[in-house]
């Protein structure tokens, strides 16, 4: 994770998020890049994974004979159960989400604003079929919401922005953003750069339209 190396690839990024998830935490991982975080949780961490279609204690993806059509994750991918797992219905599952019982939720994003607004469900394009799933419940329900994303979109535009131009998923809900180039804390102190990868805070400040503060090195 040294600042001298280049931008992080998605597995390094997932490992970085996994490093910051407290032992024993109840965690929901969103579809896509966030799902990779599970592969990097250290053995014995005691982290319990919640999947919003109705399970705590979700195990790794199922392969071969393990595949059971009655056991999938929120992305409809066949998964396995770990000892201590529990099943529950949708209203209970989202009571856990909305009720503040999850310690951490890790979500992907199209955009995050400096104030912690999240846009991750809809591009707003008129011909796009909108789909939200549990994203809005997770965004406002978990005690801490981490976003993991690339800092710049394929067209080069920043995804950490003064205010989101895509339709919002939740307001002021994101507390930390993990990207290939830097990790940011969002809060009362504005956007604080915790770590950089193959770049500098000054270089990022020149490319982003939000004021950045470098974290004090302990």
């Amino acid at each position: 994770m040294s600042t001298g190396s280049g931008p992080l690839d998605k597995h390094d990024l997932a490992a970085l998020v996994a490093r910051d998830i407290p032992a024993g935490a109840y965690v929901n991982l969103g579809i896509g890049l966030p799902t990779l975080v599970a592969d990097h949780l250290p053995p014995g961490s005691g982290v319990v994974l919640h999947t919003e279609n109705g399970m705590l204690g979700m195990g790794p993806a199922a392969h071969g004979d393990q595949v059971d059509p009655d056991l999938t994750n929120a992305g409809k991918v066949p998964v396995t159960e770990l000892p201590g797992a529990a099943y529950f219905h949708q209203a209970d599952s989202f009571a856990m989400v909305r009720g503040g019982h999850l310690d951490v939720c890790v979500l992907g994003a199209f955009q995050v604003s400096a104030g912690g607004d999240l846009a991750n469900w809809h591009t707003g394009a008129p011909d796009a079929t909108p789909a939200v799933g549990g994203a809005m419940d997770l965004a406002i329900g978990a005690k801490r919401v981490f976003v993991v994303m690339e800092l710049f979109a394929k067209d080069g535009s920043p995804k950490l922005v003064p205010s989101c131009t895509y339709p919002l998923t939740g307001v002021g809900c994101v507390s930390r953003v993990y990207t290939d180039l830097a990790v940011f804390d969002l809060g009362q102190d504005g956007v604080v750069v915790r770590e950089v990868f193959g770049t500098t805070t000054d270089e990022l400040a020149a490319r982003l339209d939000v004021p950045l503060t470098a974290a004090l090195v302990p």
Partner: protein, 219 residues
């Protein structure tokens, strides 16, 4: 009323009226009562409002009901998937309306209907397009949006086993919307893999008590 163990999926879905609101269980294909949906296609009810988490996968189940042009409106949280071409085509053509609801709100609105609650205030969606123009209230310093109960005329759900008085147990994540939908419909119809005799289900493990269940069929 006592539960009826039906001889066929056709008997189980008999009497569904045109214009009904039909709650259909399942998350993707897990827990989706495919035999009941196929029977509903044969039964012929039209102008349906379907409430389900997704808007059909592939060409079977809910997707087949949509393709048969029996559905006027879909109330769901996640219609856009790699294999949801039937819904997307109909929606783009303006032939099916979409009412998009956050997944937790969808579940809670049905839970409320089943529990005799008319509406509730919920923080999900505040500040987003899905809450635009809706009644809100500040509660403990947080904005909540008013959500109304969502009731069905019929629920079609899948479960693992039923006993002859309609108690249900489920399997793994196929449980999903079943227990909530069972409470929220006037008539609840359940597709199971097995019907067992009274006394064979451990009362401590029953998830849906038979009071919520009207018809059961093995399929």
């Amino acid at each position: 009323m006592a539960v009826t163990v039906c001889a066929s999926p056709a008997a189980a879905v008999a009497g569904v009226q045109d214009g009904s609101t039909v709650l259909i269980g399942g998350f993707g294909m897990a827990g989706m009562p495919v035999a009941l949906i196929e029977a509903l296609i044969d039964q012929g009810a039209r102008e349906l409002t379907v409430v389900s988490n997704n808007a059909g996968n592939g060409d079977t189940g809910l997707a087949a009901l949509l393709a048969a042009r029996r559905v006027r409106k879909v109330v769901c949280s996640f219609p856009r998937q790699a294999d949801s071409w039937v819904f997307e085509g109909l929606h783009r053509a303006g032939e099916v309306k979409l009412d998009l609801v956050p997944q937790g709100t969808l579940a809670e609105r049905m839970r409320a209907a089943g529990a005799g609650i008319g509406a509730f205030f919920c923080p999900t969606g505040v500040g987003t397009p899905l809450a635009e123009g809706r009644e809100t209230r500040e509660i403990d310093g947080r904005t909540h949006v008013l959500e109304y109960a969502l009731r069905g005329d019929v629920a079609l759900i899948g479960a693992h086993k039923a006993d002859r008085v309609g108690n249900l147990v489920y399997r793994k994540t196929a449980r999903n919307f079943g227990p909530v939908m069972a409470t929220a419909a006037t008539t609840t119809v359940v597709q199971v893999s097995q019907v067992v005799e009274v006394g064979e289900l451990d009362p401590e493990s029953v998830v849906t008590p038979g009071i919520y269940v009207d018809r059961v069929v093995v399929a």
